[in-house]
């Protein structure tokens, strides 16, 4: 009797899984979700359009992969070169720029490499490399990682050695590592402001336009994946470029700082 009760309860639990009509899945980068902006936008999207957006929070590399496989209906990422390559492979219908935030350099509060006094972002990286100060890299093929590699290249440095630690993890885990090692790290501003385990780290460098981080929205190509919910994806895009979205994105602040700047163009 008791065993049967447990059995049937467990089976009922497993079977009680039904999909809803107005759901759509979107893969997004960790920075978008960790910033807290998603918590503000999603309820409003549901209210205005009736669409329940389910987020898969992963790195840009995995986000694009999920879209290419047809496992999500749209992607919202920040790595232009990878996005264009993804579109060129026929994975999506088009690319729509939505907003940007920026990257910053975080490091030990005493800034041993004096990266904070650099005039450009590449100079700041050169200072860190020159001082062989510990630097944590995402190393996970994410948008942030790609930006970091682009900067090293622009600085003419091939980062390697004991001081350069590629952790191969998400922004939060990488920040935890940097906090533990008291190392330099590149982060998006939102993740850093929201990060609760700062330890002895502080923001050491910001403001170079090269550090701007453009987010783009791309619906998955329904010709490649016929099940992709293109109607919902288009409705979501219309909302993301609307004045309502502008108001919410531009108005979102954390500790008094504005995190994202809306820059979608009307068609």
């Amino acid at each position: 009797m008791t065993f049967r009760t447990i059995l049937s309860a467990a089976f009922a639990a497993v079977l009680a899984v039904a999909a809803q009509a107005e759901d759509m899945k979107m893969s997004v980068t960790t920075s978008f979700a960790n910033s807290g902006l998603a918590d503000v936008l999603l309820p409003e999207i549901k209210k205005d359009t009736g669409i329940n957006v389910q987020l898969l929070i992963v790195g840009t590399g995995q986000a694009l992969k999920l879209g290419a496989q047809g496992d999500v209906d749209a992607v919202l990422v920040h790595a232009k070169a990878a996005e264009l390559a993804w579109l060129a492979e026929g994975n999506g219908t088009h690319r729509r720029e939505i907003m940007y935030n920026d990257f910053i350099l975080v490091g030990p509060s005493d800034d041993p490499a004096a990266a904070g006094s650099a005039a450009q972002a590449t100079e700041a990286l050169s200072a860190i490399a020159g001082a062989q100060a510990p630097f944590v890299s995402r190393g996970d093929n994410s948008g942030t990682h790609k930006m970091e590699l682009r900067l090293w290249k622009a600085a003419g440095i091939e980062p390697q050695g004991d001081w350069y630690r590629a952790v191969g993890q998400g922004m939060g885990a990488a920040l935890n590592t940097a906090s533990g090692m008291n190392a330099y790290i590149m982060s998006d501003r939102a993740s850093w402001l929201k990060f609760a385990n700062k330890g002895d780290l502080k923001l050491v460098y910001e403001g170079d336009p090269i550090l701007f981080n453009q987010y783009a929205y791309m619906p998955v190509n329904p010709e490649k994946h016929s099940h992709a919910k293109i109607e919902q994806a288009n409705a979501l895009e219309a909302w993301l470029v609307s004045d309502r979205a502008r108001e919410l994105i531009d108005g979102y602040t954390l500790n008094g700082e504005k995190l994202f700047t809306f820059n979608a163009k009307a068609e």
Binding site: F3, A9, V14, K25, Q54, M171, F195
Partner: protein, 234 residues
């Protein structure tokens, strides 16, 4: 140390106030891992018994393989299940990826070898005692298996609970096949990973304590329901 105390305090607060998100992810954790434990037991227990009473040439190899599979890395299982159930994969048409069903499937693969191995060990010892009796009664093979499973039910419950324990604490596979979607596939372990990533250690620890409490509660509940470990009984 301070984090741990804060985590405990926060866990207590979440539980006492019956935080809606906590209840949701806790129930889903239970659904997924209990479901996997039930299905894994339905496969693993008879398999363990069958292996104990049958003699066939590759038996030793099969048992060694089963024991080795106890160490299956969840993240690899997750990846394989993901590739199978991806829209571009062979089972993609089912649309099961990023659903609790996919999470159950992944966990069944992970825990069935554990349940079968533990069950095999327990049944083997029981079979040594029952062998002559069951043979002399001319019990058929399925009758032997049924008798052994029933008389060994307490040891077998341990097998099932070991499987449940592995499932409820597992994060690598369900993160990949479930996707940690808020209000859809987020469970305790994936929520803990998320909070750790945000640097919210006290929240992550609070969820961890809830998870440990849940595992203890499920084990206690099963022991009470099945009336084992009572004072007057050995």
């Amino acid at each position: 140390m301070n984090d741990i105390l804060q985590g405990l305090a926060r866990a207590a607060k979440l539980v006492v106030t019956l935080n809606a998100d906590l209840v949701e992810i806790t129930l889903l954790s239970l659904q997924v891992s209990l479901g996997a434990a039930v299905i894994g037991s339905a496969i693993g227990l008879p398999l363990g018994a069958w292996l104990a009473i049958n003699r066939f040439p590759a038996r030793r190899t099969v048992i060694a393989l089963l024991n080795a599979l106890m160490g299956l890395p969840p993240v690899v299982v997750g990846l394989i299940v993901y590739v199978l159930f991806s829209r571009s994969g062979p089972l993609g048409v089912l649309g099961l990826l990023f659903t609790p069903t996919a999470m159950v499937i992944a966990q069944v693969i992970i825990i069935t070898p554990i349940i079968a191995s533990v069950a095999h060990q327990a049944i083997r010892e029981l079979w040594a005692d029952y062998h002559d009796l069951l043979i002399s009664l001319e019990a058929r093979r399925h009758q032997r298996i049924a008798t052994l499973l029933w008389d060994g039910r307490r040891a077998l419950m341990t097998a099932s609970l070991a499987g449940f324990g592995r499932g409820i604490g597992e994060v690598g596979a369900i993160m990949i096949v479930g996707g940690n979607i808020d209000h859809a596939t987020r469970v305790l372990t994936t929520a803990i990973a998320l909070e750790t990533g945000k640097g919210e250690f006290d929240m992550a620890l609070a969820l961890g304590f809830v998870l440990i409490g849940l595992a203890i509660a499920v084990n206690l509940a099963l022991h009470i329901l099945s009336r084992t470990e009572r004072g007057s009984r050995w």
